[in-house]
Amino acid sequence: MTSATATPAGRGRSNRLMSGAGVYAAAALLAAFVLGPVLWMVVTALKPRDEVFTSPPHWIPHHPTFENFGAALDPTFLRFMGNSLLVCTGATLLCVALALLASYTLSRPSGRMRHSVLVVVLVSQLLPQAVLLVPLYRSAEELGLLNSYAGLVVVYLTFTLPVAMWLLHGFIAAIPAELEEAAQADGLSSFRAFLTVIVPLARPGIAATAAFVFFTAWQDFMFALVFLTDEAKRTLPLGVLGYMGQYTVQWGQLMAASTLLLLPIMALFVAVQRHFVAGLTVGAVKG
C-alpha cells in the first residue's frame, strides 16, 4: 500500500514490515484465533448428545443434527428472549429520550455547566458497576423493585445513560449550529428548532446510539443476576446460564442457545456497524 509512492531509497530494501506470504500467514493466524472458539461453538451445537462427550473430541460432527437447536428453542427460552426484548427495548427508548434531552443543552457551546456535566458523565461511565450494584440492590429491595422489569430498565440507565449522553452529544455537536440559528431566525423557538431541524439530521447518530444502548443492555448479566430472582422473569443471558448445572453441563444445548443468543445481536451490529464504529472513535481518534 505504502510502497506505491516509495522512492528508490525505500524500494530496494527488503526490510518490509510484512511481506506478501507473511501477510497471509498473519491473516490466517488472526482468523484462527478469532473464529476458532466461535466455530467450536457451532460444531458443538451440531453434535448429538453422546458425541459431545467423546474424548478426544471430533473436529467435525460425525452425525450432525439440529436437535440441540430444537431443544434450546423451548418455550422457556422463547420467554427469556421475550423478556430480554422487552427490557432492552424499554431501556433503549428511555435512555435515548433522556440523552436527546440532555444533548439539546450539551451540544451547544453556550452553556457554562457544559464542561463539568461532560466530566461527570465520563466519570460515571468509568465507575465499577459491581460496586454500584450493591447499594442499588439494597435500595431496590426496600422499594420493592426487585423482580420487576421497570426496576431493571431504570437500573440499566446506570451504565447506558452516560455512554448515550456522550455519544449523542458528539453526533449532535457535529451538526453546524448555523442550521438551528437559521430556523430560529425564521421564528421557531430554539427547542422547536432543535426538534424539527437538528434531530432529523442526527438520525444516523441517534440510531447508532440506540443500537449501542440496546446492545449493552442485551449483554448485561450482572444486574439481571442480582435483580431477577424469579426464574420466569429471567433475561436471556441469565437463562442461558441455566443450562450449566452444578455438576453436568449440557454443552450441546448450551452452545445451541448461545448461537441463538448471538445471532440477533450480530445482525443488529452488522446493520449499524459503520455509524457505530465512527461514533465510538470520535473521541479517541483525534490530533
Partner: protein, 331 residues
C-alpha cells in the same frame, strides 16, 4: 472513519437548508422579532438547564447515591447475621489489610489488568496494521474480527470454558497433537494456570475494539509525512517508529486507558469461567465485591473492597480525563 462520519453529516446538512427555511416560514413568521432579545435568551437558557435535570437527577440517583452509600457502608458493620448497622470506623479496612484474600485480590487484579491490557494493545495494533494492508479476504476478515467483541461476555465465558475443558475441549486435543503434554491439564482448575487462562479469554473478547481504534488512527497518519520520511531514506521500520507510531500515540493512550478501566471492572467473564476460584486464584475486585455482598452477605467488607477499587479507578480516570483534555475531546 471519523472524517467520513463528519463529511456525511456536513453533506446531508448542506442538502437541507432550503427545506428548513421553507418549513420554518410556514410557521410563526416574524413572530420572534417582536420580543426583546434579552428575555428570549433568558427563557432559552432556562429551558436548556431544565433539559439537563432529568438525566442528571437519574445519574445522581443511580451513580452518585450508590457511591456515597458505599462510602458510608464501608465504615459500618452490616452483615446478614447482624443486620443492625453499627459504626465501626476503619475496622473493615484494617480487616481487609490483614486478610490474605485482599492481597490475593490485589495481586490478581494487577496481573489481570496488566496482562490483558498489554496483550490487547499488542494484538490490537498488530491486527490493525495487518488489516490496513491489501490482501485477498481483507474485507471478510475485517468483518469477522469484531465478532468476539459483539458477543455477550457470558457467552464468551461459557465458550472458553468449553475450549479449556480438559477432556472435551479442543485445546488439549490440539496441544496433544503437537507435542508431549503431561496428561490433560485442567487449565481453569489449577491455581497456577487459571488466571492466565481467563486472561487469554479476556484478550480474545476485548482486543477487537483496540483493533478498530488503531485501524482508524493508522488510516489518519498523514501520507505526506510517510513520503517525507521515505525521501529522507528511512526504511519501513524507521518510518514506522518515527512517523506512524508518533502519529497514533494519542489514540493509543486513550485506548489503553479505556481498556484499563474496562478490564479492571470486568465481571462477567471471570464469574462465568471460574467464579474467582480455584480458591481465590482468579478473584479480582468486581468478583470479590459481588461475593462478599451477595454470597457472604458482608456488606461492610464488600463496601470496603468497593472503596479501594474506586480509589484505583479514580487514578485511571484522572489520567483519562487529562488525556481527553489534551486532545480536545472535552471541548
Amino acid at each position: 472513519m471519523l472524517l467520513r462520519q463528519h463529511d456525511q453529516s456536513m453533506a446531508s446538512a448542506a442538502r437541507r437548508p432550503g427545506a428548513v427555511v421553507r418549513r420554518a416560514n410556514k410557521g410563526e413568521g416574524s413572530h420572534a422579532s417582536r420580543h426583546p432579545r434579552g428575555r428570549h435568551a433568558r427563557k432559552e437558557s432556562l429551558l436548556r438547564a431544565a433539559c439537563l435535570v432529568p438525566p442528571l437527577a437519574l445519574l445522581a440517583m443511580l451513580v452518585g447515591y450508590p457511591l456515597v452509600e458505599t462510602l458510608r457502608t464501608s465504615v459500618m458493620r452490616s452483615t446478614f447475621i447482624q443486620p443492625e448497622t453499627v459504626y465501626v470506623g476503619l475496622d473493615n479496612f484494617s480487616a481487609l489489610l490483614s486478610a490474605d484474600e485482599f492481597w490475593a485480590v490485589v495481586r490478581n487484579s494487577v496481573i489481570w489488568t496488566a496482562v490483558v491490557v498489554s496483550l490487547q494493545f499488542v494484538l490490537g495494533l498488530a491486527a490493525a496494521i495487518l488489516l490496513s494492508k491489501r490482501f485477498r479476504g481483507r474485507t471478510a476478515l475485517r468483518a469477522v474480527v469484531i465478532v468476539p467483541w459483539v458477543m455477550p461476555g457470558i457467552i464468551a465465558g461459557v465458550l472458553w470454558k468449553l475450549v479449556y475443558d480438559p477432556y472435551l475441549g479442543p485445546l488439549n486435543n490440539l496441544l496433544g497433537g503437537i507435542g508431549p503434554m503431561g496428561g490433560n491439564p485442567a487449565w481453569l482448575g489449577a491455581t497456577g494456570t487459571a488466571l492466565f487462562a481467563v486472561c487469554v479469554a479476556a484478550v480474545w473478547k476485548g482486543f477487537p475494539l483496540s483493533t478498530v481504534m488503531y485501524m482508524a488512527a493508522y488510516q489518519n497518519v498523514p501520507q505526506d509525512m510517510r513520503d517525507a520520511a521515505r525521501i529522507d531514506g528511512a526504511g519501513r521500520w524507521r518510518e514506522f517508529w518515527h512517523v506512524t507510531l508518533p502519529s497514533m500515540a494519542s489514540t493509543m493512550r486513550t485506548t489503553v486507558l479505556l481498556t484499563m478501566v474496562w478490564t479492571f471492572n470486568y465481571f462477567d467473564l471471570v464469574y462465568v469461567m471460574t467464579k474467582g476460584g480455584p480458591g481465590v486464584s482468579t478473584e479480582i475486585f468486581p468478583t470479590v465485591v459481588y461475593r462478599q455482598a451477595f454470597s457472604e452477605v458482608n456488606y461492610g467488607v464488600a463496601a470496603a473492597y468497593g472503596v479501594v477499587s474506586v480509589l484505583v479507578l479514580s487514578v485511571f480516570t484522572a489520567l483519562y480525563l487529562r488525556q481527553l483534555n489534551r486532545v480536545g475531546g472535552l471541548r
